[in-house]
Protein backbone atom coordinates (compact mmCIF):
# COMPACT_ATOMS: atom_id res chain seq x y z
CA UNK A 1 0.00 0.00 0.00
CA UNK A 2 1.82 3.09 -1.21
CA UNK A 3 1.10 6.31 0.58
CA UNK A 4 -0.41 8.51 -2.10
CA UNK A 5 -1.51 12.07 -1.78
CA UNK A 6 -5.06 10.83 -2.14
CA UNK A 7 -4.80 9.29 1.35
CA UNK A 8 -5.50 12.49 3.17
CA UNK A 9 -4.94 12.36 6.96
CA UNK A 10 -8.42 13.86 7.35
CA UNK A 11 -10.01 10.59 6.30
CA UNK A 12 -7.80 8.63 8.66
CA UNK A 13 -8.86 10.98 11.46
CA UNK A 14 -12.52 10.43 10.62
CA UNK A 15 -11.92 6.68 10.51
CA UNK A 16 -10.38 6.63 13.99
CA UNK A 17 -13.11 8.90 15.32
CA UNK A 18 -15.69 6.48 13.92
CA UNK A 19 -14.02 3.52 15.59
CA UNK A 20 -13.77 5.40 18.87
CA UNK A 21 -17.43 6.45 18.85
CA UNK A 22 -18.53 2.92 17.91
CA UNK A 23 -16.52 1.28 20.69
CA UNK A 24 -17.77 3.92 23.13
CA UNK A 25 -21.34 3.36 22.05
CA UNK A 26 -21.14 -0.44 22.27
CA UNK A 27 -19.36 -0.34 25.62
CA UNK A 28 -22.01 1.90 27.19
CA UNK A 29 -25.15 0.17 25.90
CA UNK A 30 -27.14 -1.14 28.85
CA UNK A 31 -29.41 -4.13 28.12
CA UNK A 32 -33.19 -3.43 28.27
CA UNK A 33 -34.85 -4.27 31.57
CA UNK A 34 -35.69 -7.93 31.84
CA UNK A 35 -38.40 -8.68 34.43
CA UNK A 36 -38.12 -12.50 34.15
CA UNK A 37 -37.39 -14.20 37.45
CA UNK A 38 -38.62 -11.26 39.51
CA UNK A 39 -41.75 -11.39 41.63
CA UNK A 40 -44.41 -8.72 41.41
CA UNK A 41 -43.43 -7.55 44.84
CA UNK A 42 -39.80 -7.09 43.82
CA UNK A 43 -40.90 -5.15 40.74
CA UNK A 44 -43.11 -2.97 42.89
CA UNK A 45 -40.19 -2.14 45.22
CA UNK A 46 -38.00 -1.30 42.22
CA UNK A 47 -40.65 0.95 40.78
CA UNK A 48 -41.12 2.52 44.17
CA UNK A 49 -37.36 3.20 44.35
CA UNK A 50 -37.47 4.80 40.92
CA UNK A 51 -35.25 2.21 39.26
CA UNK A 52 -37.89 1.20 36.72
CA UNK A 53 -41.03 2.71 35.26
CA UNK A 54 -44.13 1.15 33.90
CA UNK A 55 -44.45 1.49 30.13
CA UNK A 56 -47.61 2.17 28.13
CA UNK A 57 -47.84 -1.51 27.18
CA UNK A 58 -48.03 -2.54 30.83
CA UNK A 59 -44.41 -3.84 30.97
CA UNK A 60 -41.40 -2.34 32.77
CA UNK A 61 -38.35 -0.42 31.52
CA UNK A 62 -35.34 1.25 33.20
CA UNK A 63 -36.14 4.69 34.51
CA UNK A 64 -34.55 7.09 31.92
CA UNK A 65 -33.95 9.72 34.63
CA UNK A 66 -31.85 7.31 36.65
CA UNK A 67 -30.08 6.02 33.52
CA UNK A 68 -28.30 9.33 33.24
CA UNK A 69 -26.25 8.71 36.37
CA UNK A 70 -25.78 5.01 35.93
CA UNK A 71 -22.45 4.13 34.33
CA UNK A 72 -20.74 6.19 31.65
CA UNK A 73 -23.16 7.78 29.19
CA UNK A 74 -22.82 6.83 25.54
CA UNK A 75 -21.95 9.18 22.70
CA UNK A 76 -25.59 9.74 21.78
CA UNK A 77 -26.41 10.94 25.29
CA UNK A 78 -23.50 13.37 25.24
CA UNK A 79 -24.54 14.58 21.79
CA UNK A 80 -28.08 15.17 23.06
CA UNK A 81 -26.70 17.10 26.01
CA UNK A 82 -24.47 19.14 23.73
CA UNK A 83 -27.42 19.93 21.47
CA UNK A 84 -29.45 21.16 24.41
CA UNK A 85 -26.56 23.23 25.80
CA UNK A 86 -25.64 24.77 22.46
CA UNK A 87 -29.25 25.75 21.83
CA UNK A 88 -29.18 27.57 25.13
CA UNK A 89 -25.70 29.00 24.56
CA UNK A 90 -26.82 32.60 25.02
CA UNK A 91 -29.47 32.04 27.69
CA UNK A 92 -29.03 33.11 31.31
CA UNK A 93 -31.33 31.05 33.47
CA UNK A 94 -30.05 32.06 36.86
CA UNK A 95 -27.11 33.40 38.83
CA UNK A 96 -25.14 30.21 38.37
CA UNK A 97 -26.73 28.92 35.18
CA UNK A 98 -25.32 30.92 32.29
CA UNK A 99 -25.27 29.68 28.69
CA UNK A 100 -22.17 27.96 27.40
CA UNK A 101 -21.18 30.97 25.25
CA UNK A 102 -21.04 33.14 28.38
CA UNK A 103 -19.00 30.53 30.22
CA UNK A 104 -16.49 30.34 27.37
CA UNK A 105 -16.36 34.14 27.32
CA UNK A 106 -15.65 34.33 31.06
CA UNK A 107 -12.88 31.76 30.84
CA UNK A 108 -11.26 33.34 27.77
CA UNK A 109 -11.31 36.84 29.25
CA UNK A 110 -10.04 35.63 32.63
CA UNK A 111 -7.29 33.69 30.88
CA UNK A 112 -6.39 36.57 28.54
CA UNK A 113 -6.02 39.18 31.26
CA UNK A 114 -3.86 36.94 33.43
CA UNK A 115 -1.76 35.72 30.53
CA UNK A 116 -1.19 39.12 28.91
CA UNK A 117 -0.25 40.89 32.12
CA UNK A 118 2.05 38.01 33.12
CA UNK A 119 3.68 38.01 29.68
CA UNK A 120 4.27 41.76 29.77
CA UNK A 121 5.89 41.58 33.19
CA UNK A 122 7.88 38.46 32.31
CA UNK A 123 9.29 39.89 29.06
CA UNK A 124 10.26 43.17 30.72
CA UNK A 125 11.97 41.51 33.67
CA UNK A 126 13.45 38.84 31.37
CA UNK A 127 15.10 41.47 29.17
CA UNK A 128 16.57 43.25 32.16
CA UNK A 129 17.96 39.98 33.52
CA UNK A 130 19.14 38.89 30.06
CA UNK A 131 21.13 42.07 29.60
CA UNK A 132 22.62 42.00 33.06
CA UNK A 133 24.57 38.82 33.66
CA UNK A 134 25.26 39.64 37.30
CA UNK A 135 21.62 40.34 38.12
CA UNK A 136 20.55 37.22 36.24
CA UNK A 137 22.87 35.02 38.24
CA UNK A 138 21.81 36.71 41.46
CA UNK A 139 18.10 36.20 40.85
CA UNK A 140 18.20 32.88 39.03
CA UNK A 141 18.04 30.75 42.24
CA UNK A 142 14.77 32.45 43.20
CA UNK A 143 13.31 31.92 39.75
CA UNK A 144 14.31 28.27 39.89
CA UNK A 145 12.48 27.84 43.20
CA UNK A 146 9.38 29.74 42.13
CA UNK A 147 9.11 28.16 38.69
CA UNK A 148 8.14 24.59 39.66
CA UNK A 149 5.50 25.66 42.22
CA UNK A 150 2.05 24.72 40.97
CA UNK A 151 0.10 27.93 40.40
CA UNK A 152 -2.76 26.38 42.37
CA UNK A 153 -0.54 26.18 45.42
CA UNK A 154 -0.61 29.97 45.52
CA UNK A 155 -4.40 30.05 45.58
CA UNK A 156 -5.12 30.04 49.34
CA UNK A 157 -2.55 32.78 49.87
CA UNK A 158 -3.88 34.82 46.96
CA UNK A 159 -7.48 34.39 48.07
CA UNK A 160 -6.51 35.44 51.58
CA UNK A 161 -4.64 38.47 50.27
CA UNK A 162 -6.95 39.83 47.58
CA UNK A 163 -10.15 38.49 49.19
CA UNK A 164 -11.89 38.28 45.82
CA UNK A 165 -12.26 35.01 43.90
CA UNK A 166 -12.50 36.86 40.58
CA UNK A 167 -9.07 38.42 40.98
CA UNK A 168 -7.68 35.29 42.57
CA UNK A 169 -8.52 33.28 39.45
CA UNK A 170 -6.76 35.85 37.28
CA UNK A 171 -3.75 35.86 39.60
CA UNK A 172 -3.55 32.06 39.45
CA UNK A 173 -3.32 32.35 35.66
CA UNK A 174 -0.73 35.08 36.15
CA UNK A 175 1.39 32.87 38.41
CA UNK A 176 1.13 30.01 35.95
CA UNK A 177 2.15 32.16 32.99
CA UNK A 178 4.96 34.28 34.35
CA UNK A 179 7.88 31.93 35.03
CA UNK A 180 8.44 30.11 31.74
CA UNK A 181 8.34 33.37 29.76
CA UNK A 182 10.61 35.11 32.23
CA UNK A 183 13.22 32.36 32.20
CA UNK A 184 13.26 31.91 28.42
CA UNK A 185 13.28 35.65 27.72
CA UNK A 186 16.30 36.10 29.95
CA UNK A 187 17.96 33.17 28.20
CA UNK A 188 17.02 34.41 24.72
CA UNK A 189 18.32 37.91 25.31
CA UNK A 190 21.43 36.58 27.00
CA UNK A 191 22.26 34.21 24.14
CA UNK A 192 21.53 36.70 21.39
CA UNK A 193 24.36 36.44 18.87
CA UNK A 194 26.94 38.95 19.95
CA UNK A 195 27.46 40.19 16.38
CA UNK A 196 23.98 41.75 16.42
CA UNK A 197 24.86 43.75 19.51
CA UNK A 198 28.26 44.60 18.03
CA UNK A 199 26.59 45.96 14.90
CA UNK A 200 24.19 47.94 17.10
CA UNK A 201 27.16 49.29 19.07
CA UNK A 202 29.10 50.28 15.95
CA UNK A 203 26.02 52.00 14.53
CA UNK A 204 25.68 53.86 17.85
CA UNK A 205 21.99 52.99 18.16
CA UNK A 206 20.30 54.54 21.16
CA UNK A 207 19.37 52.32 24.09
CA UNK A 208 15.73 52.32 23.08
CA UNK A 209 16.44 51.62 19.41
CA UNK A 210 18.81 48.85 20.41
CA UNK A 211 15.99 47.32 22.43
CA UNK A 212 13.21 47.35 19.89
CA UNK A 213 15.23 47.11 16.67
CA UNK A 214 17.76 44.49 17.74
CA UNK A 215 17.23 42.84 21.12
CA UNK A 216 13.47 42.24 21.02
CA UNK A 217 13.23 41.00 17.44
CA UNK A 218 16.44 39.01 17.89
CA UNK A 219 15.17 37.24 20.98
CA UNK A 220 11.61 36.98 19.64
CA UNK A 221 11.74 33.29 18.63
CA UNK A 222 12.98 32.29 22.10
CA UNK A 223 10.49 34.57 23.81
CA UNK A 224 7.68 33.05 21.76
CA UNK A 225 8.78 29.58 22.86
CA UNK A 226 8.56 30.72 26.48
CA UNK A 227 5.15 32.26 25.85
CA UNK A 228 3.97 28.98 24.36
CA UNK A 229 5.00 27.05 27.49
CA UNK A 230 3.39 29.73 29.67
CA UNK A 231 0.28 29.58 27.54
CA UNK A 232 -0.08 25.85 28.06
CA UNK A 233 0.50 26.00 31.79
CA UNK A 234 -1.93 28.92 32.20
CA UNK A 235 -4.55 27.06 30.24
CA UNK A 236 -4.07 24.05 32.49
CA UNK A 237 -4.35 26.25 35.58
CA UNK A 238 -7.49 28.15 34.65
CA UNK A 239 -9.82 25.11 34.79
CA UNK A 240 -9.08 23.93 38.35
CA UNK A 241 -8.92 27.56 39.52
CA UNK A 242 -12.50 28.01 38.36
CA UNK A 243 -13.54 24.72 39.94
CA UNK A 244 -12.00 25.56 43.29
CA UNK A 245 -13.10 29.19 43.37
CA UNK A 246 -16.60 28.58 41.99
CA UNK A 247 -16.09 31.23 39.34
CA UNK A 248 -18.34 30.87 36.31
CA UNK A 249 -16.44 29.42 33.34
CA UNK A 250 -15.84 26.21 31.43
CA UNK A 251 -13.89 24.69 34.33
CA UNK A 252 -16.77 25.55 36.62
CA UNK A 253 -19.19 23.96 34.13
CA UNK A 254 -17.45 20.61 34.50
CA UNK A 255 -17.67 20.81 38.29
CA UNK A 256 -21.29 21.97 38.44
CA UNK A 257 -22.34 19.12 36.14
CA UNK A 258 -20.58 16.72 38.46
CA UNK A 259 -22.48 18.24 41.37
CA UNK A 260 -25.66 17.68 39.36
CA UNK A 261 -24.52 14.07 38.81
CA UNK A 262 -24.89 14.73 35.09
CA UNK A 263 -21.98 12.73 33.64
CA UNK A 264 -22.97 13.58 30.08
CA UNK A 265 -22.65 17.22 31.13
CA UNK A 266 -19.18 16.54 32.54
CA UNK A 267 -18.10 14.95 29.27
CA UNK A 268 -19.55 17.87 27.34
CA UNK A 269 -17.66 20.30 29.58
CA UNK A 270 -14.44 18.41 28.95
CA UNK A 271 -14.98 18.73 25.21
CA UNK A 272 -15.65 22.44 25.60
CA UNK A 273 -12.40 22.90 27.54
CA UNK A 274 -10.54 21.11 24.74
CA UNK A 275 -12.18 23.23 22.08
CA UNK A 276 -11.44 26.47 23.90
CA UNK A 277 -7.82 25.36 24.25
CA UNK A 278 -7.52 24.64 20.54
CA UNK A 279 -9.04 28.00 19.61
CA UNK A 280 -6.76 29.97 21.94
CA UNK A 281 -3.76 27.99 20.78
CA UNK A 282 -4.37 28.58 17.09
CA UNK A 283 -4.83 32.28 17.78
CA UNK A 284 -1.53 32.26 19.63
CA UNK A 285 0.26 30.47 16.79
CA UNK A 286 -0.96 33.08 14.31
CA UNK A 287 0.54 35.83 16.47
CA UNK A 288 3.74 33.88 17.01
CA UNK A 289 4.20 33.46 13.26
CA UNK A 290 4.36 37.24 12.87
CA UNK A 291 7.43 37.72 15.05
CA UNK A 292 9.57 34.67 14.41
CA UNK A 293 12.31 34.53 11.79
CA UNK A 294 14.59 31.90 10.36
CA UNK A 295 18.36 32.26 10.42
Amino acid sequence: MGSKSTQHPFFVSVFFLGIFLFVWHVATISPPFDPTGKTDEELLVMEFNGDIVQTDGGGYAWNPEKEKVKGVPGPMTVLEKAWVELNEAFVIKGTNDHGIAFLVGYTVSRFSVGFLVASGVAILVGIILGLNQMLFRALNPFIQILKPISPLAWMPLLLYTVKDPKWTAILVVFMAAIWPTLATTAFGVNSLRKEYLQVAAILQLSWFKRLYKVILPGAAPTIVNGLRISFGSALVAVVPAEMLLGELGVGYLSWIEWNNLDIAGVLFAILVVGTVGVLLDSGFNKLAGLVTYRE
Binding site: E195, I202, Q204
Partner: protein, 294 residues
Protein backbone atom coordinates in the same frame (compact mmCIF):
# COMPACT_ATOMS: atom_id res chain seq x y z
CA UNK B 1 51.78 60.76 12.03
CA UNK B 2 49.99 57.94 10.40
CA UNK B 3 46.23 57.88 9.89
CA UNK B 4 45.60 54.75 11.91
CA UNK B 5 48.15 53.33 14.26
CA UNK B 6 48.12 50.39 16.57
CA UNK B 7 50.55 51.33 19.28
CA UNK B 8 52.24 48.65 21.38
CA UNK B 9 49.02 46.73 21.80
CA UNK B 10 49.04 43.62 23.98
CA UNK B 11 46.13 41.38 24.82
CA UNK B 12 45.99 38.89 27.66
CA UNK B 13 43.12 36.50 28.34
CA UNK B 14 42.54 34.67 31.61
CA UNK B 15 44.04 31.21 31.23
CA UNK B 16 41.90 28.08 31.32
CA UNK B 17 43.50 26.88 34.52
CA UNK B 18 41.89 29.84 36.27
CA UNK B 19 44.84 31.68 37.70
CA UNK B 20 47.21 33.65 35.54
CA UNK B 21 46.80 34.91 32.03
CA UNK B 22 47.65 33.85 28.51
CA UNK B 23 49.29 36.39 26.26
CA UNK B 24 47.54 36.43 22.89
CA UNK B 25 49.90 38.95 21.33
CA UNK B 26 52.40 41.41 22.65
CA UNK B 27 53.36 44.95 21.80
CA UNK B 28 51.99 44.87 18.29
CA UNK B 29 52.68 48.11 16.48
CA UNK B 30 51.21 48.84 13.05
CA UNK B 31 51.03 52.10 11.18
CA UNK B 32 48.50 52.49 8.40
CA UNK B 33 48.29 55.44 6.03
CA UNK B 34 45.11 57.03 4.84
CA UNK B 35 43.64 55.18 1.86
CA UNK B 36 45.86 52.17 2.42
CA UNK B 37 44.67 48.57 2.25
CA UNK B 38 46.47 46.52 4.87
CA UNK B 39 45.96 42.84 5.56
CA UNK B 40 47.02 40.65 8.44
CA UNK B 41 47.58 36.98 7.65
CA UNK B 42 48.11 34.32 10.25
CA UNK B 43 46.94 30.92 11.41
CA UNK B 44 43.67 30.51 13.26
CA UNK B 45 43.95 31.53 16.88
CA UNK B 46 46.91 33.86 16.44
CA UNK B 47 44.76 36.75 17.62
CA UNK B 48 44.34 38.60 14.35
CA UNK B 49 40.59 38.95 14.80
CA UNK B 50 41.19 40.21 18.34
CA UNK B 51 43.48 42.84 16.88
CA UNK B 52 40.72 43.86 14.46
CA UNK B 53 38.18 44.02 17.27
CA UNK B 54 40.51 46.27 19.25
CA UNK B 55 40.62 48.72 16.33
CA UNK B 56 36.83 48.43 16.07
CA UNK B 57 36.54 49.22 19.77
CA UNK B 58 34.65 46.00 20.40
CA UNK B 59 37.45 44.69 22.62
CA UNK B 60 39.78 46.58 24.88
CA UNK B 61 43.52 45.95 24.75
CA UNK B 62 45.32 44.98 27.94
CA UNK B 63 48.10 47.40 27.07
CA UNK B 64 48.57 50.03 24.42
CA UNK B 65 45.86 51.32 22.16
CA UNK B 66 44.67 52.13 18.68
CA UNK B 67 44.83 55.72 17.47
CA UNK B 68 42.68 56.91 14.59
CA UNK B 69 43.27 60.36 13.17
CA UNK B 70 45.04 61.45 16.34
CA UNK B 71 42.30 60.16 18.67
CA UNK B 72 42.55 57.08 20.79
CA UNK B 73 39.88 54.46 20.14
CA UNK B 74 37.71 54.13 23.25
CA UNK B 75 34.73 52.20 21.89
CA UNK B 76 32.88 51.22 18.75
CA UNK B 77 31.79 54.00 16.41
CA UNK B 78 30.44 54.81 13.00
CA UNK B 79 33.90 55.80 11.74
CA UNK B 80 35.09 52.16 11.92
CA UNK B 81 32.65 49.75 10.32
CA UNK B 82 33.23 46.02 10.51
CA UNK B 83 32.37 43.48 7.82
CA UNK B 84 31.84 40.27 9.74
CA UNK B 85 32.86 36.76 8.76
CA UNK B 86 29.35 35.47 9.46
CA UNK B 87 27.77 38.54 7.87
CA UNK B 88 25.97 39.66 11.06
CA UNK B 89 22.88 40.70 9.14
CA UNK B 90 19.72 40.99 11.18
CA UNK B 91 17.67 38.01 9.98
CA UNK B 92 14.39 39.73 10.86
CA UNK B 93 15.12 42.66 8.57
CA UNK B 94 15.01 42.79 4.80
CA UNK B 95 18.10 43.59 2.73
CA UNK B 96 16.94 47.19 2.44
CA UNK B 97 16.27 47.53 6.17
CA UNK B 98 19.65 46.04 7.02
CA UNK B 99 21.41 48.76 5.04
CA UNK B 100 18.91 51.48 5.97
CA UNK B 101 19.38 51.09 9.72
CA UNK B 102 23.09 51.84 9.21
CA UNK B 103 22.47 54.82 6.90
CA UNK B 104 19.86 56.25 9.25
CA UNK B 105 22.35 56.08 12.14
CA UNK B 106 25.18 57.60 10.16
CA UNK B 107 23.10 60.46 8.74
CA UNK B 108 20.44 61.19 11.35
CA UNK B 109 19.50 64.51 9.76
CA UNK B 110 18.61 63.06 6.38
CA UNK B 111 15.06 62.85 5.13
CA UNK B 112 13.60 59.45 4.41
CA UNK B 113 13.92 60.12 0.66
CA UNK B 114 17.61 60.86 0.99
CA UNK B 115 18.11 57.75 3.06
CA UNK B 116 16.17 55.65 0.57
CA UNK B 117 18.20 56.96 -2.38
CA UNK B 118 21.48 56.39 -0.55
CA UNK B 119 20.56 52.83 0.46
CA UNK B 120 19.40 52.09 -3.07
CA UNK B 121 22.69 53.40 -4.47
CA UNK B 122 24.75 50.98 -2.41
CA UNK B 123 22.42 48.03 -2.96
CA UNK B 124 22.79 48.66 -6.68
CA UNK B 125 26.55 49.01 -6.29
CA UNK B 126 26.80 45.46 -4.94
CA UNK B 127 24.43 44.20 -7.62
CA UNK B 128 21.52 43.33 -5.34
CA UNK B 129 18.83 45.44 -6.98
CA UNK B 130 15.64 43.41 -6.99
CA UNK B 131 16.49 41.68 -3.71
CA UNK B 132 15.71 44.67 -1.48
CA UNK B 133 12.67 43.10 0.16
CA UNK B 134 14.25 39.69 0.69
CA UNK B 135 15.24 38.46 4.12
CA UNK B 136 18.85 37.27 4.59
CA UNK B 137 17.65 33.65 4.89
CA UNK B 138 16.60 33.77 1.25
CA UNK B 139 20.10 34.79 0.13
CA UNK B 140 23.22 32.76 -0.64
CA UNK B 141 26.37 33.36 1.40
CA UNK B 142 27.81 35.52 -1.37
CA UNK B 143 24.71 37.69 -1.55
CA UNK B 144 24.63 38.01 2.23
CA UNK B 145 28.16 39.36 2.28
CA UNK B 146 27.29 41.76 -0.53
CA UNK B 147 24.67 43.16 1.82
CA UNK B 148 27.34 43.30 4.53
CA UNK B 149 29.63 45.24 2.17
CA UNK B 150 26.81 47.56 1.10
CA UNK B 151 26.02 48.26 4.74
CA UNK B 152 29.68 48.95 5.53
CA UNK B 153 30.39 51.17 2.51
CA UNK B 154 27.07 53.01 2.82
CA UNK B 155 28.02 54.78 6.03
CA UNK B 156 31.33 55.88 4.46
CA UNK B 157 33.50 55.04 7.46
CA UNK B 158 37.03 56.35 7.92
CA UNK B 159 38.26 52.78 8.28
CA UNK B 160 36.75 49.57 6.97
CA UNK B 161 37.53 46.52 9.06
CA UNK B 162 37.13 43.26 7.17
CA UNK B 163 37.15 40.21 9.45
CA UNK B 164 37.74 37.21 7.17
CA UNK B 165 34.91 38.54 5.03
CA UNK B 166 34.90 35.80 2.43
CA UNK B 167 35.78 32.77 4.56
CA UNK B 168 32.23 31.43 4.56
CA UNK B 169 31.61 31.92 0.86
CA UNK B 170 32.13 29.16 -1.71
CA UNK B 171 35.35 29.42 -3.70
CA UNK B 172 33.80 30.37 -7.04
CA UNK B 173 31.66 33.17 -5.65
CA UNK B 174 34.52 34.33 -3.45
CA UNK B 175 36.64 35.33 -6.45
CA UNK B 176 33.81 37.34 -7.95
CA UNK B 177 33.11 39.22 -4.73
CA UNK B 178 36.81 39.89 -4.18
CA UNK B 179 36.93 41.66 -7.54
CA UNK B 180 33.79 43.59 -6.70
CA UNK B 181 35.48 44.68 -3.51
CA UNK B 182 38.54 45.79 -5.52
CA UNK B 183 36.27 47.94 -7.69
CA UNK B 184 34.41 49.40 -4.74
CA UNK B 185 37.65 50.16 -3.00
CA UNK B 186 39.09 51.76 -6.15
CA UNK B 187 36.07 54.05 -6.27
CA UNK B 188 36.18 55.06 -2.59
CA UNK B 189 39.81 54.53 -1.57
CA UNK B 190 38.81 53.84 2.01
CA UNK B 191 41.41 52.89 4.53
CA UNK B 192 40.98 49.16 5.00
CA UNK B 193 42.26 46.79 7.64
CA UNK B 194 41.57 43.18 6.69
CA UNK B 195 42.17 39.90 8.47
CA UNK B 196 42.31 36.70 6.46
CA UNK B 197 44.08 33.41 5.96
CA UNK B 198 43.59 33.37 2.23
CA UNK B 199 46.95 34.26 0.65
CA UNK B 200 45.61 34.98 -2.85
CA UNK B 201 42.90 37.20 -1.44
CA UNK B 202 45.48 39.16 0.51
CA UNK B 203 47.73 39.65 -2.53
CA UNK B 204 44.83 40.68 -4.78
CA UNK B 205 43.51 43.29 -2.37
CA UNK B 206 46.33 44.62 -0.22
CA UNK B 207 48.99 47.27 -0.39
CA UNK B 208 50.84 45.65 2.47
CA UNK B 209 50.48 42.25 4.11
CA UNK B 210 51.47 41.69 7.72
CA UNK B 211 52.46 38.18 8.64
CA UNK B 212 51.56 37.18 12.15
CA UNK B 213 53.24 34.36 14.05
CA UNK B 214 51.25 31.81 16.03
CA UNK B 215 50.09 32.51 19.53
CA UNK B 216 50.54 32.53 22.41
CA UNK B 217 52.58 35.72 22.41
CA UNK B 218 52.01 36.20 18.71
CA UNK B 219 53.60 39.13 16.95
CA UNK B 220 53.81 40.61 13.52
CA UNK B 221 57.05 39.18 12.20
CA UNK B 222 57.13 40.48 8.65
CA UNK B 223 55.49 43.11 6.52
CA UNK B 224 55.34 42.32 2.81
CA UNK B 225 54.89 45.14 0.30
CA UNK B 226 52.63 43.96 -2.49
CA UNK B 227 54.62 45.43 -5.35
CA UNK B 228 52.02 44.62 -8.00
CA UNK B 229 50.64 47.71 -9.73
CA UNK B 230 46.94 48.53 -9.57
CA UNK B 231 44.39 48.14 -11.00
CA UNK B 232 44.61 44.45 -10.27
CA UNK B 233 42.37 41.61 -11.28
CA UNK B 234 42.61 37.94 -10.55
CA UNK B 235 43.49 37.23 -14.17
CA UNK B 236 46.28 39.73 -14.56
CA UNK B 237 48.06 39.56 -11.20
CA UNK B 238 49.25 36.02 -11.73
CA UNK B 239 51.29 37.26 -14.70
CA UNK B 240 53.09 39.83 -12.59
CA UNK B 241 56.74 39.03 -12.00
CA UNK B 242 56.39 39.50 -8.23
CA UNK B 243 53.20 37.53 -7.76
CA UNK B 244 54.72 34.11 -7.17
CA UNK B 245 57.65 35.52 -5.20
CA UNK B 246 55.23 37.18 -2.82
CA UNK B 247 52.91 34.21 -2.71
CA UNK B 248 55.68 31.71 -2.08
CA UNK B 249 57.23 33.90 0.55
CA UNK B 250 53.96 34.13 2.47
CA UNK B 251 53.17 30.45 2.14
CA UNK B 252 56.67 29.50 3.31
CA UNK B 253 56.16 31.75 6.30
CA UNK B 254 52.79 30.18 7.11
CA UNK B 255 54.02 26.63 6.69
CA UNK B 256 57.07 27.32 8.80
CA UNK B 257 54.87 28.67 11.57
CA UNK B 258 52.35 25.87 11.30
CA UNK B 259 54.88 23.10 11.78
CA UNK B 260 56.98 24.72 14.48
CA UNK B 261 54.25 26.22 16.51
CA UNK B 262 56.47 28.72 18.21
CA UNK B 263 58.63 30.69 15.88
CA UNK B 264 62.12 29.51 15.19
CA UNK B 265 63.39 33.04 15.21
CA UNK B 266 63.76 35.74 17.79
CA UNK B 267 64.47 33.55 20.81
CA UNK B 268 62.25 34.03 23.86
CA UNK B 269 60.72 37.35 22.76
CA UNK B 270 61.75 39.18 25.86
CA UNK B 271 61.45 42.29 23.74
CA UNK B 272 59.67 41.64 20.42
CA UNK B 273 61.76 42.85 17.55
CA UNK B 274 60.43 45.15 14.87
CA UNK B 275 58.84 43.38 11.92
CA UNK B 276 61.06 42.72 8.94
CA UNK B 277 60.00 44.63 5.86
CA UNK B 278 59.98 42.64 2.64
CA UNK B 279 59.90 44.45 -0.68
CA UNK B 280 60.53 42.47 -3.84
CA UNK B 281 61.17 45.58 -5.96
CA UNK B 282 63.93 46.74 -3.66
CA UNK B 283 65.09 43.21 -3.20
CA UNK B 284 66.17 42.99 -6.84
CA UNK B 285 68.79 45.68 -6.14
CA UNK B 286 70.17 44.45 -2.82
CA UNK B 287 68.81 40.95 -2.76
CA UNK B 288 71.30 39.33 -0.41
CA UNK B 289 70.81 41.75 2.40
CA UNK B 290 67.01 41.42 2.55
CA UNK B 291 66.94 37.67 2.26
CA UNK B 292 69.59 37.21 4.87
CA UNK B 293 68.03 39.58 7.33
CA UNK B 294 65.67 37.02 8.79
Amino acid sequence: MSFLSIDHVSKYFPSHSGNGTVCIFEKVTVKINKGEFVTVIGHSGCGKSTLLNIIAGLETPTEGGAILNGQEVSGPGLDRMVVFQNFALMPWMTVFQNVAIAVRSAYPTWSSQEIKAHVQKYITLVGLQGAETKKPTALSGGMKQRVGLARAFSIEPKVLLLDEPFAQIDALTRGVIQEELVQMWNATRNTVFMVTHDVDEAILLSDRIMLMTNGPSARIAEIVDVTIPRPRSRETIIDDEHYYKIRNHIIHFLVRHASHGQTDEGGDHAEPSDPVEINFSRQSTNKDETVMSH
